[in-house]
């Protein structure tokens, strides 16, 4: 059972190393590197663009698509999966399904929790800070010092 001692090329019947010689290579990796840099710049640009204000959902979808693109580049080329046999599907597809299922299954539970908030929870829940900008300069109108009369 010592076939994974690396004197053999990946196993007595393993043929991975034979194929490795023809795959990858410096030029391919440099192209992938360039692709990754370009995609990072694109996602940075989307994240800082006006699209985020106009349609945040489109911006998020765009950034996720870019991330998936970068992930595919790394997985296919750097992790060599483009040239591996069908076992790659056995490992990656269930993992991907599980990831998506996990998020989807949590949406009706944790994702929509605010729909079932109790009165007390709502009172103590956070609110947006936008109203601070409106009232920040108007506080002096409220300086009604009624303490002298009442108590």
């Amino acid at each position: 059972m010592s076939e994974n001692q690396s004197n053999h090329e990946g196993g007595p019947q393993g043929h991975d190393s034979h194929d490795h010689e023809d795959h990858g290579g410096f030029t391919t990796y440099m192209f992938v590197f360039g692709g990754l840099i370009v995609l990072t710049i694109i996602s940075f640009w989307i994240g800082n663009s006006d699209l985020k204000n106009q349609s945040p959902v489109a911006a998020w979808a765009g950034m996720m698509a870019v991330s998936c693109g970068k992930a595919m580049l790394v997985i296919l080329f750097f992790m060599h999966l483009k040239w591996e046999a069908n076992w790659k599907y056995v490992l990656t597809i269930p993992a991907m399904m599980m990831s998506i299922f996990l998020v989807v299954m949590l949406v009706p539970d944790v994702g929509m929790r605010t729909l079932r908030y109790s009165e007390e929870r709502i009172i103590h829940a956070a609110e947006s800070t936008l109203h601070i900008d409106e009232h920040g300069g108007e506080h002096d109108e409220d300086n009604d010092h009624s303490e002298d009369a009442a108590h």
Binding site: G14, I46, M79, S99, H139
Partner: protein
């Protein structure tokens, strides 16, 4: 008999050569590494998936600017990790063709790039901590709503600072050989003025129904989106209170005069019932007025402090001022006081941020340990499998960051 491929039956002459038939066309190490990586995918999917669900189901979520998250720094970290992915794959290429010294060079570069990533992460974490952003209470100084709990927390923080400084000053004064540094005296007077003029003032205002005062307190401690406090309304308030202070002092004089007159009447036994009741009322009011005067004058002192930024030319939030040297305006290594800040949604933000980036940083550290072990090795063809599997792990770490960067910094 033949069992499958390659079985040579020796017909009993001693040496039977059995050939192992792997179920998959890859070596054990690679298979195990991929199995491990699929569990890691599930691990990070759990963390990232719950972040997504928590964030988009939250009533409010802070922006990266509010949480002092710098996108360029995150982009730089992404670039560093991408470069290290390239160098590890080039190290593998070099090892395959037994270019041992080249492979070692690439591994060293990968190790250095990974350490650079961790260093930048540490810098980012430190900048969070210095703003009071911790993953958990009680160290976390973030409150979610501008309510009485927040105002009380600010008040308590200032009182604690006041007690500490008073203790230190008194200890130095008792010791005849040492002098109290001017900076310490200044800080003590600042904190004293703020405790009454800012915290207590706000609590009193809120108690009488002016909850906007707490909102103002929050924006004075930690201005929204980096804008300093606005000068005009503060000056207007200061003038209004100075007028009120004069009124109060005038009132006090009047009441004292009235009290003396009434007291005289009582002593002379020319007082009637109305005078007696009036005397009681005047006495009661005279009890309250000094308190109001001191509160108002503390407010003026606090406003003066806010309006005079010292070495800086622009008004800054209080926490920012406490992080800078009073005379030179340079940033201190640690702020001498951090007041609680009010950022809606911040605690959940901090919890998810630190959890995800923390676990990712641990994985980067493990990768660096593996590379540190690889550096003294002779990385020729015989080590190809080890290097390939280390590379797989490192690419996975890069993959996780590829998803974390937009989710945390850009969304």
């Amino acid at each position: 008999m033949t069992d499958g491929d390659g079985h040579q039956d020796d017909h009993g002459h001693g040496h039977i050569h059995l050939e192992y038939q792997p179920a998959l066309p890859l070596n054990n190490g690679k298979l195990c590494m991929w199995l491990f990586l699929s569990t890691e995918i599930m691990f990070f999917a759990a963390l990232i998936g719950t972040y997504i669900v928590i964030r988009f189901g939250a009533p409010v979520w802070p922006t990266p600017e509010e949480m002092h998250l710098s996108e360029p720094v995150g982009a730089f970290n992404t670039f560093v990790l991408i470069c290290s992915s390239v160098t590890i794959v080039l190290a593998l290429e070099a090892a395959k063709s037994s270019q041992v010294s080249r492979a070692r060079l690439y591994i060293i570069i990968t190790f250095l790039l990974g350490s650079l990533f961790l260093g930048v992460k540490a810098y980012e974490y430190r900048s969070k901590f210095s703003h009071g952003i911790y993953p958990q209470l009680p160290r976390s100084l973030m409150y979610e709503k501008p309510d009485v709990y927040y105002a009380a927390a600010v008040h308590k923080s200032l009182l604690t600072a006041q007690e500490e400084l008073t203790g230190k000053v008194q200890a130095l004064e008792a010791d005849e050989e040492q002098e109290v540094p001017a900076v310490m005296q200044q800080r003590l007077s600042t904190v004293t003025a703020l405790t009454t003029g800012l915290a207590r003032w706000t609590e009193e205002e809120a108690a009488f129904g002016n909850t906007e005062a707490i909102v103002q307190l929050a924006s004075l401690v930690n201005p929204v989106q980096g804008k300093g406090p606005q000068e005009t309304p503060l000056r207007a308030e200061k003038e209004a209170i100075e007028v009120r202070l004069k009124d109060l002092e005038g009132q006090q004089k009047q009441l004292l005069a009235e009290q003396t007159a009434l007291q005289q009447k009582v002593d002379d036994e020319t007082a009637n019932e109305d005078d007696a009741t009036r005397l009681e009322t005047v006495a009661a009011e005279l009890l309250i007025i000094p308190e109001q005067i001191s509160l108002a004058s503390s407010r003026v002192k606090a406003l003066n402090f806010l309006l005079n930024p010292g070495a800086s030319s622009e008004l800054m939030g209080l926490n920012e001022r406490f992080s800078k040297d009073e005379e030179t305006g340079e940033k201190l290594a640690r702020p001498w006081l951090i007041l609680p800040i009010m950022i809606p949604g911040a605690n959940m933000w901090a919890a998810t941020y630190f959890l995800m980036t923390g676990f990712h940083a641990i994985h980067v550290l493990v990768g660096l340990i593996i590379f540190a072990l690889a550096i003294p090795m002779t990385l020729d063809r015989s080590r190809e499998v080890f290097l390939e599997n280390s590379g797989l792990y490192w690419h996975f770490v890069d993959l996780v960051w590829i998803f974390l960067f937009p989710l945390l910094y850009l969304f």
